[in-house]
């Protein structure tokens, strides 16, 4: 982890939500929040933009459906037309079920693959956890604080932002605040 970050560890979703709001209000940069489950409203509190993954579903699903309709028409009317009880070769209503199914299949698979790609999730990846219990019951805020070069009053790198962030976290019942970098805390826990 970058030396310019610090973490606050919380035990409840209400606390982490309030702390993130406060931190952002004070102009601090939230690098990440790792939580055991999706905390409702946290994405807005941290100022995340709405994801555009829905476009993948729509575009891939619709194109696959249209392509499948074309393929069925080509197969049934051009490549090998078979007269079945005098029905028209390009019998479009009969092609709707397969068109729909293939559209759903392509849209669904493309959406999940897109999720894995944009979130860089792949089998066997080493997870980067800021705290060993984030997949159990801990809510951890990772705050980016600018490193101030040279000596300051409080010591090297300890700018006013660090103290502010730490006090906000403590005010919201953080059970652990680390201003010394992430790895040490992860080891200690």
């Amino acid at each position: 982890m970058s030396s310019g970050s610090m973490i606050g560890v919380f035990t409840s979703q209400e606390d982490v939500l309030a702390a993130v709001r406060r931190l952002r209000h004070e102009g601090l940069v939230i690098a990440d929040v790792q939580t055991p489950y999706a905390v409702h409203g946290l994405d807005q509190a941290a100022g995340l933009r709405r994801t555009r993954l829905g476009w993948v579903t729509g575009i891939v699903g619709l194109s696959a459906a249209v392509a499948m309709l074309g393929f069925q028409t080509w197969v049934s009317a051009a490549a090998w037309p078979i007269n079945v009880g005098g029905k028209p070769f390009a019998s479009t209503p009969a092609f709707v079920p397969v068109m729909f199914e293939v559209g759903v299949l392509a849209g669904g698979l493309a959406t999940v693959l897109a999720l894995f790609v944009v979130c860089r999730l792949y089998p066997g990846k080493q997870p980067s956890l800021v705290h060993p219990r984030v997949t159990d019951d801990r809510f951890v805020v990772l705050i980016e604080v600018p490193v101030i070069k040279g000596p300051t009053i409080k010591g090297p790198g300890a700018g006013p932002d660090r103290a502010l962030a730490a006090s906000i976290c403590r005010a919201h019942n953080a059970i652990e605040v680390s201003t010394d970098g992430v790895e040490e805390v992860a080891d200690a826990a």
Binding site: P36, Y37, H40, L53, S76, S91, E101, V104, V134, D137
Partner: protein, 474 residues
């Protein structure tokens, strides 16, 4: 998880999906006073992790072996029967020129129907913001997968040469290219069932990823830990990942909802697009979909009651869960009963003598016993669920859920065998008796289903931990 759409409750349903926290806090406070908690016993998130992971971390209990070994034995019976019939030919079945579909297609429709409840719980109830679903969705989705696997086997075995099953797919070949017939409902079935299986599998796996990460971080070392680590895709619960994940979950639920309605509609087209009296009706698609959800929800009840008792999950599968599912069973039973009455009335009122005969023959003909098993199990038994005490009595719900599944199996038998055995020409009328091979194949499919389900309970968290933790505070 799932809070994106499940935020708050019905009281916030009118606001945007992502509301601000003060609203959601206020609504969850209101919930607390109005509704009993979804999870009993005031569990904390770490207790949820411990409760659900523990069965996976200790050795299998004698009770598990007592269930697993008989299931495996049934599966082996099925394997032996299928091997014999493939070696000898499907002449080993009791089919004849008139009744060309019987046990095989009955079993196929039965198993596909069972699968529908899983998708209903994971997708439809998700969109309807029914937060109690979090306790049952994982197991119900697993049930869907195993049921669709069982379903897929029957048409493939029925082909007689299962190694040529790939001929059902449209691929360029050296025969012309000779393509598949896209106008055939049987081909629509191939697409519907395989897409349904694939999307259900992806949906289920996506839901598992955060829980696999929890297991990975809990176990620390060992072979199992490495497997969980491999499959958990480096999940770290990062905010951006959760946000995208929830959107994808919502999109998949949106896709799976019309999909689940389409699958059993397409299965019903196998019958509805033919000209046979008793099959050739427009009511079949909604009737089949309602029946599928009805039978599937009963199977979920059977499995959940067993799980609650044997795996000590009473805090997660509360009386309220059983009650809610029993209500869905009651509603779908009424739909199915209404469909039985409608098709009977339509046939009698139609003035078409073949239709009229087909339905009178169902109720009064040589297979009348199967018709009345169907009516008593599917329409009469669920009437018990009008009473709250009955919906909350585990023995009553358990027995009723099994009776309903027997009834739903007979529903497909009635539709398929009775209609086929008496068609337009009396000279082609015939009876049907299943052979031991067919019965053994059906038994084997139950063996496959329960073997897979028990292995799932043993190696994967059967309750979605990340979702349950999200509804603890409400």
């Amino acid at each position: 998880m799932a809070d994106l759409a499940l935020a708050g409750s019905a009281s916030t349903a009118t606001t945007a999906p992502i509301s601000t926290a003060p609203t959601s806090t206020a609504s969850s406070a209101a919930n607390r006073s109005l509704r009993p908690p979804l999870i009993a016993g005031g569990k904390t998130p770490s207790e949820v992790t411990a409760d659900i992971c523990q069965p996976l971390e200790r050795r299998a209990t004698p009770l598990w072996w007592a269930a697993f070994l008989p299931s495996l034995a049934l599966l082996l019976v099925g394997v032996a029967a299928v091997t014999y019939q493939i070696r000898t030919g499907i002449g080993t079945w009791g089919l004849n020129k008139t009744v060309g579909w019987a046990f095989d297609i009955t079993n196929f429709v039965f198993w596909v129907g069972i699968g529908h409840a899983g998708t209903l719980i994971s997708a439809v109830l998700f969109l309807l913001r029914q937060r109690w679903r979090t306790s049952v969705n994982r197991a119900a989705e697993a049930m869907t997968l195993f049921a669709v696997m069982c379903a897929g086997l029957f048409p493939i075995i029925h082909m007689g040469r299962p190694w040529l099953a790939f001929w059902m797919l449209p691929y360029p070949n050296a025969r012309g290219s000779l393509w598949v017939n896209f106008r055939s409902p049987l081909l629509w079935d191939v697409f519907a069932v395989s897409v349904y299986f694939t999307i259900s599998l992806v949906f289920w796996y996506l839901g598992l990823v955060p829980d696999l990460a929890t297991l990975r971080d809990r176990l620390q070392k060992g072979f199992k830990q490495r497997l969980y680590a491999f499959a958990s895709l480096g999940w770290n619960g990062s905010l951006k990942t959760w946000q995208r994940y929830e959107m994808v979950y919502l999109l998949l639920a949106g896709l799976a909802t019309p999909l689940v309605l389409s699958v059993h509609s397409i299965v019903s087209f196998d019958f509805a697009t033919s000209v046979l009296p008793g099959w050739h009706t427009t009511i079949l698609p909604p009737y089949f979909v309602a029946g599928a959800i009805f039978s599937g929800m009963s199977m979920v009840l059977t499995l959940m009651i067993i799980a609650r008792v044997t795996m000590r999950l009473k805090a997660y599968l509360t009386d309220n869960h059983i009650d809610a599912m029993a209500k869905i069973v009651l509603v779908t039973s009424m739909m199915v009963g209404f469909a039985y009455a409608t098709e009977f009335f339509t046939a009698l009122y139609s003035g078409n003598e073949y239709e009229r005969f087909a339905f009178l023959n169902r109720a009064l003909g040589p297979f009348a016993w199967s018709y009345w098993i169907m009516v008593s199990c599917n329409v009469l038994t669920p009437q018990l669920f009008w009473w709250r005490r009955m919906r909350r009595s585990l023995p009553v719900v358990f027995v009723a859920s099994i009776l309903i599944n027997i009834g739903m199996w007979f529903e497909r038998f009635v539709i398929i065998v009775i209609s086929l055995s008496r068609d337009f020409l009396p000279s082609s009328w015939a009876g049907y008796t299943p052979t031991w091979i067919e019965i053994a194949t059906l038994v084997g499919s139950f063996g496959l289903f329960f073997t897979c389900f028990l292995l799932f309970c043993r190696f994967l968290p059967m309750i979605a931990m990340a979702e349950v933790k999200g509804v603890l505070s409400s």
